[in-house]
């Protein structure tokens, strides 16, 4: 079997991803124990933030990778194959505002445009375009929840797993854009030249 280089996301998806790699027969002990190291050449694993996974896989620096559907939706222009829904890492992309009367609806009605803070500006822009509403997307890097509380915006588009952070900030979910789970992606050239290895991996992952 041709060895594959696998891009593994750090953060929320990492533990379950490594459990999955164990199931494939990879020895992930070193990856688990060494928090600083990024490249594990012996097992063919590279670790990175989830939003970098499509970049490495598209360029062929990794043959396959695991990342969230939220990342793939935001980076829809990447030329990668989406092979499998891995099921874990479930969370929702939502539109949320402060509790009480919906300030975004009022802004739309009276001012014609709502202001929306998000880290996912392409996802948000596409969503408002699709639903026929005018929105000004305000891209923020840090805690999105702060933006509606300070009056910067009327609404946010953000990812939530349990909704706890939203609730703690007195925000309520108004709409759900989509549900996101972890996905297995592949480089288009590796998908052809390493077909046997990738198919063997898929078969093991599909097995109950």
């Amino acid at each position: 079997m041709t060895a594959l280089t696998i891009a593994v996301p750090r953060g929320a998806l990492m533990r379950e991803t490594l459990d999955l790699l164990d199931k494939l027969g990879l020895d992930t002990a070193e990856v688990r124990s060494n928090d600083r190291k990024l490249l594990f050449a012996d097992v063919g694993v590279v670790t990175m933030r989830p939003s970098d996974v499509p970049t490495y896989v598209e360029a062929g620096a990794a043959d396959v990778g695991i990342t969230g559907k939220d990342v793939l939706t935001e980076q829809a222009e990447r030329h990668v194959y989406e092979l499998l829904d891995l099921g874990y890492g479930s969370c929702r992309m939502v539109l949320a505002t402060v509790d009480g009367p919906d300030p975004s609806a009022e802004a739309l009605r009276r001012l014609g445009v709502m202001r929306v803070a998000t880290k996912y500006h392409k996802t948000a822009a596409a969503y408002f375009e699709r639903t026929g509403r005018q929105a000004e997307i305000v891209e923020v890097k840090g805690s999105v929840e702060l933006a509606p509380l300070t009056g910067l915006v009327e609404a946010i588009v953000d990812l939530t797993a349990t909704g706890t952070t939203l609730r703690e900030n007195n925000l309520v979910i108004r709409e759900e854009l989509f549900t996101s789970t972890a996905r297995l992606i592949a480089n288009p050239v590796s998908h052809k030249l390493k077909a046997a290895a990738i198919d063997a991996m898929l078969e093991k992952l599909r097995a109950p």
Partner: protein, 319 residues
């Protein structure tokens, strides 16, 4: 003072150009030897002419002094179809033409895919499948061999396979579009969930999910039955005509889709382990010439010279 150049364009300096020139000269030698005459066409065409060809929509448009819309070509296949239908209106087919020319697309620029990029390719007009296809694949391999590329493979599929399969299973037009869109996006997760949403027999849905993921050696052509068998038989006929050194380069890929709309039959792409994206590709476009008034079957391919250069440099590093 810095004078900027447009996004997605670049200057090429002598050291690099010397290497690029070596590649294009090697390729030109093969095209010339195999009887392909080189042509130039204008970089600017009337937008309506390009639209008639149905290729990639142009990214750059200008008005001329009569208010007509001109556009920079997005490939050479459509301009050459126009050229054949107008300049070779009565010439006896087959016609063998080649080009070394820049095309322009509104892509996200990165190394290997700029918005202005140089392509080398052939168009073989009036040569139907399977012989024409086999000839194009042979010229392709000889051209790549001449540049010194070693580890490349040719993925070979059929653009008509999946649409035909959908038709034979009586999938409705709207559902068809959604399934083809998922396949074009190379999103098998979306394909699977779309298939689950349709009222199809379990075996049919499984077939529609499995077929586009089938790729490998000649053995993959033995399995399929029914509607798939027909397209697969076409691929087998092409493969039978190839000399061993060309046939050995081929990987069959029943899910191969190209981003251009005019392909009607066999399609192929060039892969090299040293590059994360295809170096080039092509296929049969048996209906394109007819849109310009000279219905002739045709096949062709284009190689991205920058990508070929990067792959050659990559292979050299690994040696």
């Amino acid at each position: 003072m810095i004078h900027r150049i447009p996004s997605g364009t670049r200057d090429v300096l002598p050291d690099e150009l010397r290497e690029l020139r070596a590649i294009t000269e090697a390729v030109r030698g093969v095209f010339d030897r195999d009887g392909y005459g080189e042509v130039w066409t204008p970089a600017l065409e009337y937008e309506a002419v390009l639209a008639r060809g149905g290729g990639m929509p142009p990214a750059y448009r200008v008005f001329d002094d009569h208010g007509e819309v001109l556009a920079l070509r997005t490939d050479m296949t459509v301009p050459i179809a126009r050229l054949v239908a107008t300049r070779f209106r009565t010439a006896e087919p087959p016609l063998r033409l080649c080009y070394f020319a820049h095309a322009y697309r509104g892509v996200r620029p990165h190394r290997g895919q700029m918005r202005e990029f140089l392509q080398a390719g052939i168009e073989l007009v009036g040569a139907p499948a399977p012989d024409g296809t086999a000839e194009a694949l042979t010229v392709l391999c000889h051209a790549l061999d001449a540049t010194g590329l070693r580890a490349y493979r040719i993925g070979l599929g059929d653009a008509s396979l999946y649409p035909r399969l959908l038709r034979s299973l009586n999938v409705g037009d709207e559902d068809r579009e959604r399934l083809l869109a998922a396949l074009a996006a190379r999103d098998f997760v979306a394909l699977e969930s779309e298939l689950h949403g349709l009222e199809l027999a379990y075996e049919d849905a499984a077939l529609l999910l499995r077929v586009p993921q089938v790729r490998g050696g000649r053995e993959v052509l033995d399995g399929p039955e029914g509607p798939v068998a027909e397209a697969v038989a076409g691929l087998r006929r092409v493969h039978d005509l190839l000399a061993p050194e060309v046939a050995d380069r081929v990987i069959f890929d029943l899910g191969l889709v190209r981003d251009l709309g005019y392909y009607t039959g066999a399609v192929f792409e060039v892969y090299d382990p040293a590059l994360g994206e295809p170096i080039g590709g092509g296929g049969r476009y048996d209906e394109l010439l007819g849109r310009f008034g000279r219905p002739l079957p045709a096949v062709g391919f284009a190689l991205g010279i920058d990508r070929l250069h990067i792959a050659l440099a990559g292979e050299e590093r690994e040696r």
